[in-house]
Every structure is written in structure tokens, then in C-alpha cells.
């Protein structure tokens, strides 16, 4: 097991180099003149000025020279201060948001995480539970309902469903609200009276025992949570159901029954652990989706997470920000794949021991 995890960990730097190479390479598809636009704020007065920018930032240097500079930054020859370098956490400066990209991540990611936290656990537990129930009662009433739901859930687009929710729960009676928090909460945070332990608003509210703030956070999050849940439940339900149906036909399930086990144990102890293997694989990509920013959902509900930041940056052609966020998402992908691999080994001895 430890051996297996170490091998996976050794792969992480390799993957990181791959991710950064690809993302940086995509930017290099633009010519030096086009990329010089990232550094000028005003219309250039003459062509010389552009050439100056290209020369100053070395935009026509060989690919790997630029890549290395991008990774490690540039040392100022006079002051010795380092500027740039994503290895040192400097993802560049976002001109559209007027702050460092790393600060965008620092302020926005906790919001995305807050939302993901309240989505992932119900998503995994309810989705799997429904899938197992449907498979065990194949072709019965609960299975029919589950199948209809899984088709509707996977085919109804988020922006339609989200708008429906806004119309029903916000536009008419303002039971639930878009955005992140009410003004009085943000004033409270700004004043410093409210201690931020984790920067996840709902969790901090609970830690401060401020249930009024917790309720306010929930009022703002409930619509995106419902939106994200209904899709993810449907996907989890579908995958769990089909995997479970397949497992229930396996010989070892008959063996378990022939030993005289109760049906409940046959399903929970023998069939379900085997049926979980494809579900765990999907769990990884679902969680990456939720953490890497749910662009449409956050935009529809005006929720200030990382997905909304990416959408804002993209709509204003802010390449530096997009680049930074893309690398951040790549990082999340690599980490969660690692977690999934370990989980996989944990449930499947064939992976763990071979």
C-alpha cells in the first residue's frame, strides 16, 4: 500500500510539468506581437514601442527560455528582488480585477470550497443510495422514478434549471438569495468582529456560534447547492445503478446467497463494495468539477467563486488570470486524481497488491 502511494506521489511532479507545459504552450501559439498586448495598457504610439516591449520581456526568446522564466521569474539585477515565477506562487497580476491572480484564488476559492462542501457529501451519499435502491428493485416503481430522474437530471441544462429556481425562490418572494452574503454580514466581517478561522463562511459561522450568519450563508447557497446536486445525483445514480446491476449478476453474488446470507448482507457486504469501483472513478472527476469552478452555476447565481472569476476574466480577455486559474485547476485535478487512486487501492485489493 505504502509502496503504491509513493509511486503515485512520484508521478505528481511529472504531471505538474506536463500541465504547465501544455498551458504555457497554448499561450505561445500567439505570436510575440500579440502577447506584447498583455504588457501594454494604452494604444502604442509607434511600432518601436511594441518592439521595445518584446525585447524587454524577451517575448521572442526560445520556447524553453520563456517557459523557464515563466516558472522561476526574473531577478531584478539592481535590487535582487524576484518578480513573477509561478513556482513561487506568483501567477501574475490581473488587470481586470486589479489584484494579483493569487489573491483572486485566495479570496474566491474558499467560496467555491464552501459550496462544494455542502454539495459533495449529499451528492455522494444520496446518489449512491438511490442507485443501489434502484438496482436492487430493478423495474419496480422506485427504479422507474429513478430512471426518469436520471434522464431529466442529465439532460436539463443548468442555466434553464437555475433560472427556474431563481424565478420560483427569489424573484417572487425572495426566500433565497443570489450572491454570497447580505450586506450586514460583509460589514461584520470587514469590521473584524467576526473571526474567520477557515474562510469558509458557513463553517466560520458555526465555529463562531453565529447561527444567524450561518442561516444567511445558507440562504445564499441553497439555490446553487440544489442546482449542483440535481445534476450530480442523477449522474451518480445512473453510474451506481448500472454498475450495481452488473455486479448483482456476478457469480460471487450467487455464492454469497448459496451460503445462506441475508439479502441485505449479500447486497451491502458483497455486491456494493464491488459496484463502487466505477463510482469512485467518477467521484474524482465530479469533485474536480466542483472545486475547479462551476462556471455556469456560479454565474447564474452571481456566486463569487473561482468559476465566476474565470468567466469574468474570460469575458474581458484577461489572459494572465485565465492562465493562472487554469494552472490552479490543473493542480486540483492532479491532487484529486491522487486521492481517487489511493481510494481505489483502498477498496480494490487487486490494485493494492499487484
Amino acid at each position: 500500500m505504502a509502496n503504491y502511494i509513493i509511486r503515485r506521489l512520484l508521478l505528481v511532479p511529472v504531471l505538474l510539468i506536463g500541465v504547465t507545459l501544455i498551458i504555457f504552450g497554448m499561450l505561445q501559439l500567439l505570436g510575440p506581437v500579440e502577447r506584447s498586448a498583455l504588457y501594454v495598457t494604452d494604444f502604442p504610439k509607434n511600432e518601436k514601442q511594441i518592439e521595445g516591449v518584446i525585447k524587454k520581456y524577451g517575448l521572442d526568446d526560445p520556447f524553453f527560455v520563456q517557459y523557464w522564466r515563466w516558472l522561476t521569474g526574473v531577478k531584478d539585477p539592481l535590487t535582487g528582488e524576484r518578480e513573477g515565477g509561478i513556482l513561487f506562487g506568483d501567477f501574475g497580476y490581473s488587470r481586470t480585477a486589479s489584484q494579483d491572480v493569487i489573491d483572486i484564488i485566495k479570496t474566491r476559492f474558499p467560496n467555491t470550497l464552501d459550496l462544494a462542501l455542502w454539495t459533495i457529501f449529499p451528492m455522494i451519499s444520496v446518489g449512491i443510495w438511490l442507485g443501489v435502491k434502484a438496482a436492487v428493485n430493478q423495474n419496480k416503481f422506485i427504479d422507474q422514478i429513478a430512471r426518469v430522474y436520471s434522464i431529466v437530471g442529465t439532460s436539463l441544462p443548468v442555466f434553464v434549471f437555475g433560472l427556474l429556481l431563481l424565478m420560483l425562490l427569489y424573484a417572487n418572494n425572495q426566500w433565497f438569495l443570489p450572491g454570497k452574503m447580505s450586506d450586514w454580514v460583509s460589514r461584520l466581517i470587514y469590521s473584524g468582529e467576526f473571526k474567520q478561522y477557515t474562510h469558509l463562511l458557513s463553517v466560520d459561522a458555526l465555529l463562531n456560534l453565529r447561527f444567524d450568519i450561518f442561516w444567511d450563508a445558507m440562504r445564499h447557497m441553497i439555490m446553487p447547492i440544489i442546482t449542483l446536486s440535481y445534476i450530480n445525483w442523477a449522474t451518480f445514480l445512473r453510474v451506481t445503478r448500472s454498475s450495481m446491476l452488473e455486479t448483482l449478476r456476478m457469480d460471487y453474488v450467487t455464492t454469497a446467497r448459496s451460503k445462506g446470507l441475508e439479502e441485505r448482507d449479500v447486497i451491502n457486504k458483497h455486491a456494493r463494495p464491488n459496484a463502487m469501483l466505477p463510482v469512485v472513478t467518477m467521484m474524482g472527476s465530479s469533485i474536480v468539477g466542483l472545486l475547479g469552478g462551476v462556471v455556469i452555476t456560479e454565474t447564474v447565481f452571481n456566486y463569487p467563486g473561482i468559476g465566476k472569476a474565470a468567466a469574468d476574466a474570460a469575458s474581458q480577455l484577461d489572459a494572465v488570470t485565465i492562465l493562472g486559474l487554469a494552472i490552479f485547476t490543473g493542480l486540483i485535478l492532479i491532487i484529486s486524481n491522487l486521492v481517487v487512486d489511493v481510494l481505489y487501492a483502498f477498496i480494490d485489493p487487486r490494485v493494492r497488491l499487484s
Binding site: 450467487t254 455464492t255 448459496s258 451460503k259 458483497h270 485489493p349
Partner: protein, 329 residues
């Protein structure tokens, strides 16, 4: 008279498929006495496995359905008792091993866990007692270093070893009956012989009755006392093993025995095979199901399906023709 353990009467099992109802088992009756080994022989899809799975109600339902019949184990009808009661019979009184040892063990559970399950469930042993008993059982079926191998997973065992584990599991609670559903089919020939030998040895030691399902006539000859030959969901001949091999009385049995390859090869003789294909099972046959392939077929075969009737001491056959004379019985 010996004790009758299992008495199956008129068993009928159907499968509902999109193409129609498959009549897999069509009124099968047989008995099994204490200490006896019954071989059930037939080609793939003739209903031999479904017959035995039906007795324990292990046929997947739906699509399967046991339409009629009784399966009396001692004095209880296994087809009529409650789900809870039959669970107490499975594993405890009737154990079962299956065809493919590669797929019949749970891949994500240790051998030890799978082996102790029935012991804890039926015999009420503690975890520790069950563990000790499991080590004994693995020793009995011939797995070396048993105590080390309990924490291993099925994929760390070879095919033959897994079948040994299956046997240990089926016999864990000392059942009266062992149902072996083609247990050697998926194994190498040398391993097959070892497994057959192991079961014979265990039968001597433990004295259980065995129902051995197979399409291998050679294996049946070495292990069974009595043989039932199945075709298209019917038992078409039943006899003590020596009688069956010496004087097969159903044309199908004759065909099967003639299809066996001989070691002493005669000059330029092709291996015999029965003409035609077994029938599909979508319709209830009103004629003898073997009639289209039968060299002895007479008029009556096309209008009436013969039932199993005795033709001698414990020898039964379902055929209108006496194949020795070629005339109707």
C-alpha cells in the same frame, strides 16, 4: 432402507425473456438418498444447473420463475418454506460449489472473511473460533500454510486453489448435501483430477450426499452411484452408473456415449456426433424433444412426449422405442 434426503417432484422453471418464455426445466423428478452421489449429465443449456439452483431457490427471480413442483428436503418442501427458512438451509444443510472458481469468489474480500461468514452465521461461532475452524478447513481441502493464506485475496490464489476454497466454504457447516455445479469444467485436466479425487476423499470422510452436475461423462463414471441424463429440460434416462454405461436405453444416451473419444483409435474413423441441434426451449414440446435427431424415431414420437418409466431394476427411461429391438415398447 436408506434415508431419503432430497425428493424433487415435477419441478418446472421458466424464464421470461423479451423473446418469449424459456421452458428451462419441464417437470423434473428425482431423489437423492443419504450417502449417495447422483450425477446429472447433459449438454449446455439442457437445464441441469437451473434444476439444482431451483431447489435452493437461487435462480434469479425475475426473470426466472419456479412454476410448479416440490423439492422435499427431509420433511420440508424447499419451494414452499419462507425466505428466512430456506436461508437457514442454504450453506448449513445444502452447500453448493460452482463452475468457475475465477468468478465465484468475491474479489474484494479476503478468503478468511468469506470462509468464516457461513461459520459465524449458521454455527454461531465467534470470530476467533471461526478463524481456527477456517484454518482447519483449508488444511482439509489441501491448501498449504493455511493460517497465512486466510488474509489473502482470491486473485492471489490459482484456479485449482480457489475451487478448493469453494469446496471448503460449501462444506464449512458439514452439510448433508453438496451440490457441485460443473466444478471441474473451468480447470486444467490435471487439476480436474485432483478436485474429483478431493471430493471423493471428503465424501468418504464426511459422508455427505452429492449431486454432481457435469457434461463430462468420464468424471461421472468415476464419482457417481447413479446418473440422470437431461435433455431439453427433461430427465430422459436414469440408472445406476454401471447399468447406464453398460446398457444405455435412450437414443440420446447412446449418442452421448458413442461421442466419447476412444483411446484405442480405430483406423480412419471420425469421432461420432449426434446429428442436428438441441431444440430451443420457447415452446412446450408435445412431441419427444429428441425426435428430430433420433435414428430410432417412430410415428408415436411425433405426437406424444414419453414420460420417464421404469424398464428394470432402478433403471428408468423416457422413450417409446426399445432400442434393442427397434420396436415400440
Amino acid at each position: 432402507m436408506t434415508n431419503r434426503l432430497l425428493d424433487v417432484k415435477g419441478l418446472e422453471t421458466h424464464f421470461n425473456t423479451p423473446e418469449g418464455i424459456v421452458h428451462a426445466v419441464n417437470g423434473v423428478s428425482f431423489t437423492l438418498d443419504e450417502g449417495e452421489t447422483l450425477g446429472i449429465v447433459g449438454e449446455s443449456g439442457c437445464g441441469k444447473s437451473v434444476t439444482m439452483l431451483s431447489c435452493l431457490r437461487l435462480v434469479p427471480m425475475p426473470p426466472g420463475k419456479i412454476v410448479a413442483g416440490q423439492a422435499n428436503y427431509k420433511d420440508r418442501d424447499l419451494l414452499a418454506i419462507s425466505e428466512d427458512e430456506i436461508r437457514k438451509v442454504r450453506g448449513a444443510h445444502i452447500g453448493m460449489i460452482f463452475q468457475d472458481p475465477m468468478t465465484s469468489l468475491n474479489p474484494v474480500m479476503t478468503i478468511g472473511k468469506q470462509l468464516t461468514e457461513p461459520l459465524i452465521l449458521h454455527l454461531g461461532l465467534t470470530e476467533k473460533q471461526a478463524r481456527n475452524r477456517s484454518i482447519e478447513l483449508l488444511g482439509i481441502v489441501g491448501i498449504p500454510r493455511a493460517s497465512d493464506r486466510l488474509k489473502d485475496y482470491p486473485h492471489q490464489y490459482s484456479g485449482g486453489m480457489r475451487q478448493r476454497v469453494m469446496i471448503a466454504m460449501a462444506l464449512a457447516c458439514m452439510p448433508d448435501i453438496l451440490i457441485a455445479d460443473e466444478p471441474t469444467t473451468a480447470l486444467d485436466v490435471t487439476i480436474q483430477a485432483q478436485i474429483v479425487e478431493l471430493v471423493i476423499q471428503l465424501r468418504e470422510e464426511l459422508g455427505m450426499s452429492i449431486v454432481w452436475i457435469t457434461h463430462d461423462l468420464g468424471v461421472v463414471a468415476s464419482i457417481a452411484n447413479r446418473v440422470a441424463v437431461m435433455y431439453a429440460g427433461f430427465i430422459i434416462e436414469e440408472a445406476p452408473v454401471k447399468k447406464l454405461y453398460a446398457g444405455p436405453s435412450h437414443p440420446y444416451t447412446v449418442g452421448l456415449l458413442n461421442s466419447l473419444p476412444q483411446i484405442q483409435v480405430q483406423e480412419k474413423k471420425r469421432l461420432y456426433s449426434i446429428n442436428g441441434m438441441p431444440p430451443t426451449l420457447y415452446k412446450i414440446p408435445h412431441a419427444c424433444p429428441f425426435a428430430p435427431r433420433c435414428p430410432w424415431v417412430i410415428e408415436r414420437c411425433w405426437s406424444e412426449n414419453p414420460l420417464l418409466f421404469p424398464i428394470g431394476d432402478s433403471h428408468k427411461v423416457a422413450c417409446w422405442v426399445d432400442i434393442k429391438t427397434g420396436r415400440e415398447r
